[in-house]
Subunit: 364 residues, 2 copies
């Protein structure tokens, strides 16, 4: 894909999730962590991925104002005009409306890809081929395009997109429905039907298409950002944006627009994707030793141990010794040690809630 002055990338980096707790904290969420042990955070990997195919001045990062410094530290080359700080988290619709109105303010011919900052994409070439395909389609058609992942298991942790397998142009299908996270039985039927894809939260559209979609389906947000855009570049921009966010309701782009719009399309994709939503998802996609262990970090010694996910940073020469255990998630951080059976990691969420009740924000 050639770099095009009308092509923009919007990286959503406002997540505050504690799904990789205790490695992730509300002050240092997952997108800023080198969760894969590559030497780069997920945000840095996402940024580099787009930098190969987008002009540097056309890559925007939307994050919470609290993380602006973290973004600046991790992406020192970015112009801070392209780092958009949200005063409060108001879900993906506000994030996208904000970035889209910013870009529209500069370039009314923009075609944008919107992508989360904290997902794994192994096959970047296929990913970019599909983005290019979507951008070409978006230039010619007033449409909202999403990349859907072909499911390889009946995962109950994702939303699904059903497409209509007829009358498609190339590999771009009309979407029939968006569905919430299903039960296992329903996920199984989705898998078998062959026309359901995982919703990866990756979107492509023209500035005009997304503006029209907001105008029609989330008119209030459209009006708010339309009003605010008068102040872009002005000295009181941050104050105006803050006012706007106070009035803005919190709604996802899926629920607010994608489920309602009639011009939604999907490209079935398979590019080694994971939302890296849990320790187990990291375990699944990581290289394992001969005994099925994933060991991320330094000074970790596992004896007679299998199928464990061990993460420890070896800070200050700290040593982790594991002996004759199985199927555990072990996460050692400077102030929290967590040991959890892999089959019970969904319950880490409740633990985080409980620890928050006990200690307030201290360990969160």
């Amino acid at each position: 894909m050639e770099k095009n002055k009308n092509h923009y990338a919007i990286i959503m980096a406002g997540g505050v999730g504690t799904r990789f707790w205790p490695s992730s904290r509300s002050s240092y969420p997952k997108q800023f962590l080198d969760i894969l042990g590559t030497g780069s955070s997920l945000l840095q990997l996402t940024y580099k991925r787009f930098l190969k195919h987008f002009l540097p001045e056309n890559i925007y990062i939307v994050t919470n104002v609290a993380y602006m410094d973290l973004v600046k530290t991790q992406i020192p080359d970015i112009n801070m005009n392209q780092v958009l700080g949200e005063p409060t988290a108001k879900n993906t619709a506000a994030c996208i409306a904000f970035a889209s109105s910013k870009i529209h303010h500069i370039n009314t011919h923009a075609i944008s890809v919107v992508a989360p900052s904290d997902h794994l994409i192994l096959d970047e070439d296929t990913f970019m081929d599909h983005i290019e395909m979507a951008m070409n389609y978006a230039r010619k058609n007033e449409s909202l395009i999403t990349l859907g992942i072909r499911p390889n298991r009946p995962d109950t942790g994702y939303g699904y997109i059903q497409y209509i397998d007829e009358g498609q142009e190339n590999n771009i299908f009309k979407v029939k429905t968006f569905t919430e996270k299903p039960t296992l039985e329903i996920a199984q039927t989705f898998m078998e039907s062959g026309d359901f894809l995982w919703n990866a939260g990756i979107f492509v559209w023209s500035g005009k298409s997304i503006r029209n979609a907001f105008k029609e389906h989330l008119h209030e947000q459209y009006a708010l950002f339309h009003e605010a855009s008068k102040y872009y570049g002005a000295s009181d921009e941050a104050i105006q944006v803050q006012k706007l966010y106070e009035q803005c309701r919190s709604i996802s782009i899926d629920y607010g627009i994608m489920e309602k719009a009639s011009n939604v399309y999907v490209i079935p994709s398979d590019f080694g994707w994971s939302d890296l939503g849990t320790w187990t998802s990291l375990y699944e996609i990581s290289d394992k030793d001969a005994h099925g262990n994933v060991v991320k970090g330094k000074n970790i010694f596992a004896y007679d141990t299998k199928d464990c996910m061990i993460s420890a940073n070896g800070q200050n020469g700290r040593l982790v010794v594991v002996k004759s255990t199985e199927n555990l998630i072990i996460v050692d951080t400077p102030d929290v040690l967590m040991i959890c059976d892999k089959n019970h990691e969904q319950e880490i969420k409740q633990i985080v809630t409980d620890i928050k009740l006990k200690f307030d924000e201290k360990y969160i």
Copy 2:
């Protein structure tokens, strides 16, 4: 038991074991740790136990010179003349010969109890009753008396003492044999026979009896300490003791004397004893929560977890969260975390050896 000016207690505190690794280290062995979570180290508990029934000036602690400061810190009231520093560890025979010759130098009518510094004794009254019984016997008879523990399981980790169940005076029996650690089958037959006791390494004798025993069975050590005692109190005492230890062979009192002497007696005892030899032995004797967990330390939260032994000191507010695990030993120290299945703790020893190979003394 009334305090008697001829009654002495010798506490052996020279152990360098790493059995409670990573809590115990060669620079801070088990006897100096508050392994029971009572606020006192095992050495402090042992010292206090004797202080109730012995004159303070009659309690001696034998330790490695490297631990003299630790002893002084933990037992600040003790006169340092009563803390005997061994230049090198030469097993229990040298330790006992040293302390005995020191005490003989001061009081030729001494009756001494010798006891390890790092064992658990729950029923101190019964323990002291048996010590008193042994001391009374030792005063009247040239004998070497040991307290043997009635076994409640066929433990293969202890040496056993077989006694002759006839012609005894009160509860003091003549010893037939000392045996090394048995196999499980043999331990089973020992249990069933009823005349085998665990060797707890607790001895009582008069100064005269133990001197004669050394003279007869370990004459070389007798001669060395006899020679050295000329220098006790002199300015070059430490140098003379060092010379002596260089020449002294390393042998246990059991192997060097008890197994050979003919005047050895045993008092079958039951006073809630454990040698606290392993994490599991600590687990066994500790109070458990409703799910069979033993939790020692601060800021430890176990959810849906059972039969685990968790030790963490909560230093610097460190948090330990354990979820849905079973039968684990979890030990969190500032520089080492160890997680080990309880059924495999015997292998911790090899791990310590391996870590030593990799890092030398750093974590040992």
